[in-house]
């Protein structure tokens, strides 16, 4: 199955060289070769049918027919050895801690601006900076309760943080479902692995939500707020509500009276304490943000500001995952924690700065340029793959609004074997682990490995046709007392 497989001069997660798997992939490679093409294809069909019948789908916008799609699932697991994970975990804990201190600071004393570590105009110019949050005390001073941080590896296999998603990161339901399907489809293929469990994520998330309840009680009323069944991530909203055993509500189910939030039930109104909202800031409260929003709850921000309800994540966290603020995260870590960043950033040029902008415009064909507030692979250009016209158009956009763009060198992401037709080919991957910040910080041992759809493509976003893999974080072998298999 791997006969024609080529590592293409990239960092390959599975192979050091053609035919020579890395030690932690040896058993998988052997197992796949024993399985053969036909059997593998049958397993893949099993997985697809299982996903479809369970309705594990996402919605693609701007596609009239068949808007509901299965998130393509790639059956070969991505394996992360214990020692690599240990560094990642420490790096992520450090990062979410600093980002939370940063949000708290920005909406209160603003020490980091006064000490000129970060230029103030960069923050005030951020689209997601929320003046409405200034001076507001949020429960337990936690802003980013849930963070999905995108990691990539370069040609040498070095991990980098590509971006933090501190607003409403999605994808965790696929991580859990991928694992469940993997267990069903390949119960016996991969031997001798000790994979760390991720199934307690919903429980940890619930604990995290309980932790910020304004009312001190054992069973606060917690809800997941979704934009509704047509939202691309609706499956996930519903999945998490079900796993946690809490209500899934839409804006129209909630009502604010005297600065308290209630949900409409068959027996009248019932108070809500914590809202895990999967609705963007802009749509949360038509009285405060976009007035045409029908997804939100009028008066919600007032209830929030007086402390009668907790919102998770807090309003205004977008200031910390703005792509133009991203290059300052290592400085934040230094400033708040007095430490060096464990996970490095990708070199980033801010178009707002004159020298950087000049460099970006001169090197458009070698860089990737991104709009600072877009996500999901929208509003970006891969310089080396773009046409001359596209680059010229982008140059105009940058000149018109430099604050809105950053440039980064193109990183040749690591690749991983993917099954294509009847053989394996390399596809680029990234990794999004999920971090929960509650009473303690918990990094889920695993994450969403996203896979680019086409050969050579560096875009892994699901909205751009990418797929995903199960991600196995291995238990530390040294900590093991006995080997489970002879």
């Amino acid at each position: 199955m791997f006969k024609q497989y080529d590592v293409d001069g990239l960092y390959d997660e599975m192979f050091v060289a053609p035919g020579e798997p890395r030690s932690h992939y040896a058993a998988v490679s052997k197992g796949l070769n024993m399985l053969g093409v036909g059997a593998f294809q049958r397993r893949r069909q099993m997985a697809d049918v299982s996903f479809r019948n369970q309705g594990i789908t996402f919605t693609v916008y701007g596609d009239q027919r068949g808007v509901e799609k299965i998130f393509p699932f790639d059956l070969v697991p991505r394996i992360v050895p214990a020692n690599e994970w240990e560094t990642i975990e420490r790096g992520l804990v450090q990062r979410i801690t600093a980002l939370n201190l940063f949000c708290q600071d920005i909406y209160h004393e603003q020490r980091i601006l006064r000490e000129r570590v970060i230029p103030a105009d960069l923050i005030y110019g951020a689209k997601m900076f929320r003046r409405e949050m200034f001076g507001v005390n949020v429960p337990r001073n936690i802003y980013i309760h849930i963070c999905g941080t995108d990691l990539i590896r370069n040609r040498e296999g070095q991990y980098f943080v590509l971006e933090d998603n501190g607003r409403t990161p999605s994808g965790v339901s696929y991580v859990l479902e991928n694992r469940a399907v993997m267990k069903r489809v390949f119960p016996g293929l991969f031997t001798t692995y000790r994979v760390r469990a991720i199934e307690d994520y919903p429980f940890n998330l619930l604990q995290c939500l309980r932790h910020v309840s304004p009312q001190a009680m054992d069973d606060p009323s917690i809800v997941v707020l979704s934009p509704g069944i047509y939202n691309s991530a609706y499956f996930e909203h519903s999945f998490l509500a079900r796993q946690m055993g809490v209500e899934l509500v839409e804006g129209r189910d909630l009502v604010v009276e005297n600065n308290f939030v209630y949900m409409r039930t068959t027996a009248g109104l019932r108070r809500v304490d914590v809202i895990y909202r999967r609705v963007d800031d802009d749509f949360l409260d038509p009285l405060c943000f976009r007035s045409e929003s029908v997804l939100g709850v009028p008066g919600l921000m007032n209830a929030y500001r007086v402390g009668n309800v907790a919102l998770v994540n807090a309003v205004g966290t977008g200031v910390s995952d703005d792509k133009a603020v991203y290059p300052y995260v290592p400085a934040m870590i230094k400033f708040y924690l007095g430490q060096d960043a464990i996970l490095p950033n990708v070199k980033t040029y801010l178009c707002a700065e004159e020298d950087d902008r000049k460099f970006v415009l001169e090197n458009l064909d070698k860089l990737v340029v991104k709009a600072t507030n877009e996500s999901g692979g929208y509003g970006m250009i891969m310089g080396h793959q773009a046409t001359r016209e596209e680059r010229e158009k982008f140059a105009e956009l940058i000149k018109a609004d430099p604050r809105n763009y950053i440039g980064q060198p193109i990183i040749e992401l690591s690749q991983h074997p993917s099954f294509v037709d009847d053989h394996f080919e390399g596809r680029r991957v990234d990794l999004r682990p999920y971090i929960l910040y509650g009473e303690k910080v918990i990094v889920m041992p695993g994450g969403l490995t996203r896979v680019a759809l086409r050969k050579g493509s560096l875009v892994v976003n699901s909205s751009q046709g990418g797929g995903s893999k199960d991600t196995w974080v291995l238990e530390d072998e040294d900590a093991e007392e006995e080997t489970p298999h002879a």
Partner: protein
């Protein structure tokens, strides 16, 4: 080549501290929107089963009666639209029979087509996905894909009968799962309410429509008439239960009285009304114990009337009028439920 089933080990996170977490949760609230959704989910599944059964039986009926006046054949097929309250005419060309079968199965514009009934049921289920059981959701989703999937058309063309039967089986499975995987709390009560109100309405229309056609047609020979009234019983899934009580030629009054007034048979109108009424009473006592809602009153009155009625009452009133009253009451009760529970 088989490797041991349990060879991958997914390890639980080791407990870092000894603290345990346990909270017993009180009765859960029921979102008004969720109540609305489970009610309609259930109604649409029930409706799809009726549509499938009516189409199935209509096909078989026409084979059974053999040579028949063409006008009566066409009228029989058109009557399906009346039973299912589909206004207007059937699009397309070709024999009416095929057109109607297609129209009632796949037509996107026809709100009562199987595809639409099941899609709406699933749409509603999707909105409350986290509150129904995984089994129910998967069952409904599988049914949905059996109608929307790429092979739906070819399966239909190969054997319409099997196709309709598979939809009915989907509904049976779903209803069984509803009873056996969902707690019998308010949520379940709303599913039952929807199911029985739908069954009441469709059954009443099936009997009334058939009665209209048959009484307007030229007097039929007894064997043919028997076959027609057997079809009515079959459309209400009641032929066997009826045969246990009655043998011999089928008298319209006898059939109508059985389908309307039989007390212990879950397909009869009286049974359905009685259960809908009971559910509404239990829902009300959980949400607002001190007042009787309009819907409960309407169903209570209807239930009492059916409990004490006999075949003669139907004769006196006339079958169409009697059934019309039932339909009106069921519709009014449904509206009352809507305003009492869904529109908070």
């Amino acid at each position: 080549m088989t490797l041991p089933i349990d060879s991958i080990q997914f390890l639980p996170r080791p407990l870092t501290d000894g603290s345990k977490f346990y909270v017993s949760r009180g009765p859960r609230p029921m979102l008004a929107r969720d109540a609305d959704s489970v009610y309609w989910m259930s109604r649409y599944v029930e409706r799809s089963e009726h549509v499938a059964r009516i189409l199935l039986i209509s096909g078989i009926l026409l084979t059974d009666v053999g040579q028949l006046d063409e006008e009566l054949v066409d009228e029989q097929w058109r009557s399906i639209l009346t039973m299912l309250q589909v206004p207007g005419d059937v699009p397309g060309e070709g024999p009416l029979r095929e057109r109607i079968a297609l129209f009632m199965t796949f037509d996107e514009e026809n709100p009562s087509s199987l595809v639409n009934c099941v899609s709406r049921a699933r749409e509603n289920a999707r909105g409350v996905r986290e509150t129904i059981s995984q089994e129910m959701w998967e069952c409904l989703n599988t049914l949905y894909w059996s109608l929307r999937g790429d092979d739906a058309r070819s399966r239909f063309e190969e054997s319409p009968d099997d196709f309709f039967r598979s939809v009915m089986t989907g509904s049976f499975l779903f209803q069984g799962l509803t009873d056996h995987t969902l707690a019998h709390d308010q949520r379940w009560m709303f599913t039952q309410l929807g199911k029985f109100l739908e069954r009441t309405a469709v059954s009443a229309r099936v009997i009334a429509t058939k009665y209209d056609i048959l009484s307007a047609a030229e007097p039929l020979e007894t064997p043919i008439r028997n076959i027609h009234w057997m079809a009515v019983l079959r459309m209400c899934a009641s032929i066997e239960a009826f045969r246990r009580q009655h043998i011999g030629d089928l008298d319209p009054i006898l059939v109508a009285a059985f389908l309307t007034l039989e007390g212990n048979f879950p397909r009869s109108i009286r049974f359905s009304v009685s259960h809908a009424h009971e559910m509404l009473g239990r829902i009300r006592s959980e949400t607002n114990p001190r007042s009787i809602e309009a819907g409960e009153r309407i169903l209570g009155q209807l239930k009492t009337q059916l409990d004490y009625a006999q075949a003669e009452d139907i004769v006196t009133a006339g079958i169409p009028a009697y059934l019309q009253k039932i339909q009106d009451a069921a519709a009014e009760a449904a509206r009352a439920v809507q305003s009492a529970y869904f529109l908070h």
